[in-house]
Every structure is written in structure tokens, then in C-alpha cells.
């Protein structure tokens, strides 16, 4: 089995009267198990240059695999740019008509790391939990991303 750790450190010396320092390390294991997650997309990179919504993680064409759904997969996405004027909206599709639920905006330098249920329902994408991204303008922006799963 593989051993993969994800550590977050949140620090601020001046957001409050006393400093904030939060550190937490998660060992990425399979659902309900102490066995490590052992599959990954690897670190991937995608450059966008339009305001169109794009499927960053397309469950119907995911490396010719069907991810094991409702387990302990994790997703990492980073906006590698430096712009504070442009953001990339990250959303997750599911529900009636594959509605897109916006999660949040990644400005240049921002990253996110979250658990991913990765539910695949149909080749027509109906209710699939695809991860979509939408740049806020047409400037070129590059995202790095990775899925770690079982």
C-alpha cells in the first residue's frame, strides 16, 4: 500500500490579537480502512483562455476508468497564476439537469483540497459529479490538479 500525507498549515500573526496557527496532517486512506489510497491521476496541468465552462474532471472519460464512487477520493486544484483580477470558478455538477453548484473562486496562487464522492451516473453526464471550471475572463490561466483515489 502507499502512504500519502496531506498537511495543512494555516497561520496568521495579525488577524486577531493572538496568533493563529493551525496544522493538521491527514494520511490518505481508503474508505473505512487504514490502507492507503493507491491510485492517482498524477499532477496534471491545463491552460484555459476563454470564459467557457470546461470539464476539468470528467467522470465519463476519466482515463478510461470509472472511479470508485462514494469512497475517500481527494481532489487538489491550484490556480498557478498570479492575477488578483482574474479568478476561476470551480463547481461540481449533479442533480436535476446536471446543475452546476459553484464551490468557490480560485484567484492566482490559490489552491483547494477536498474530498470527492465522484459519483458516475451516465455517459450523458446526467447527475455525474464532474468538476467544472470557468475562468472569469479570457486571459490565459493555468490550473494544476490531481485526483487521489482508490
Amino acid at each position: 500500500m502507499a502512504t500519502t500525507t496531506a498537511t495543512i498549515t494555516l497561520t496568521s500573526s495579525d488577524i486577531a490579537d493572538n496568533s493563529i496557527s493551525i496544522s493538521n496532517t491527514a494520511t490518505l486512506t481508503k474508505a473505512g480502512s487504514t490502507t492507503g489510497l493507491d491510485q492517482t491521476s498524477g499532477l496534471r496541468k491545463r491552460t484555459l483562455a476563454s470564459e467557457s465552462t470546461v470539464k476539468l474532471i470528467d467522470l465519463d472519460h476519466y482515463q478510461d476508468q470509472v472511479l470508485t464512487e462514494n469512497t475517500a477520493a481527494k481532489v487538489y486544484i491550484k490556480n498557478t497564476g498570479t492575477s488578483t483580477a482574474q479568478h476561476v470558478a470551480v463547481g461540481i455538477r449533479q442533480g436535476t439537469g446536471s446543475a452546476l453548484e459553484e464551490i468557490g473562486w480560485l484567484y492566482g496562487g490559490d489552491w483547494m483540497f477536498f474530498p470527492y464522492s465522484a459519483v458516475w451516473t451516465s455517459a450523458a453526464h446526467a447527475n455525474n459529479q464532474d468538476i467544472d471550471v470557468t475562468p472569469s475572463n479570457t486571459e490565459s490561466v493555468t490550473l494544476e490538479y490531481m485526483v487521489i483515489y482508490e
Binding site: 491527514a26 492517482t40 469512497t71 459553484e102 489552491w111
Partner: protein, 139 residues
């Protein structure tokens, strides 16, 4: 303004044939600026294991399309325990005991609450939201 940073380190020596060592640091700014976020709320709560969806963080009008960031950690230690995290009933995933998550949360509309559900066991959850402001409820 305040300076708050969030650093992620992903590491593994055996997930791939070569070692994985990824580190990323972001400074938490107000949306579209280089002004640091100046407000935060935090807490530790026990989520009942009754399979009901609860609002962990309420979307508020003042925070819509702002630079909000959310950290959530499941402090249970049993690997079988988990909570399901969703936004407006759109599921993101399962946060197992020992797991954490960190996301930007744009609170796209008034119903874009950050929700949590524990199917069967009580789960202790820590959270922090860094934000630009929120709408207060009148007394």
C-alpha cells in the same frame, strides 16, 4: 489588513514510482485584491449521527462572491466514521475521521450553505471560515 497564509504539503514516497512532494502556499486576500482577509469564525461541534443534513456554515448576503475560505477537519479517529459535505445539497464528498478539507467558498447565493451530514456516528468537527464580512441576524 492581516496576513494569513494557507500551506498545503502533499507527500508520498510510494504512491508513484518517484516521490511525490508538492507544496503550495496561498495568501488569503479579499476577492480581487491584495488586501488580506481580516475576519474569521471558528468552532468545534459534534454532528449528530442521525443522517440529517445540517447547516455547518450559513451563506449570507454580505459574503456572496467574496474571498471566503473554509477549513473543515473531522477530528474523529475511527476510520469508519465520516461526514458528508455538501453545498446546497450538492455533495462534494466524504470527510473521514482524520481528514481535512480547505476550499474557497463563494457563497454563490443565499441557499449555498455549507452542509454536513453524519450517517451513523457522532463526528467531532473543527472549522474555520476566513471572510470579508457577513450579514448579521437582527435580535
Amino acid at each position: 489588513m492581516a496576513t494569513t497564509t494557507a500551506t498545503l504539503t502533499l507527500a508520498s514516497t510510494d504512491l508513484l514510482s518517484d516521490s511525490l512532494s508538492l507544496s503550495s502556499t496561498s495568501t488569503l486576500y479579499d476577492a480581487g485584491t491584495t488586501t488580506g482577509l481580516t475576519q474569521y469564525d471558528s468552532g468545534r461541534v459534534k454532528i449528530p449521527g442521525d443522517n440529517n443534513i445540517y447547516v455547518l456554515l450559513d451563506s449570507t448576503a454580505a459574503a456572496v462572491d467574496k474571498g471566503n475560505r473554509v477549513y473543515v477537519a473531522n477530528k474523529n479517529t475511527d476510520e469508519n466514521h465520516y461526514v458528508i459535505i455538501s453545498i446546497d445539497e450538492a455533495v462534494l464528498g466524504r470527510l473521514y475521521g482524520g481528514d481535512w478539507m480547505f476550499i474557497p467558498w463563494s457563497q454563490a447565493d443565499a441557499t449555498a450553505n455549507l452542509e454536513i451530514k453524519a450517517p451513523s456516528e457522532v463526528n467531532e468537527i473543527e472549522y474555520v471560515i476566513f471572510h470579508e464580512g457577513k450579514t448579521f441576524t437582527g435580535a
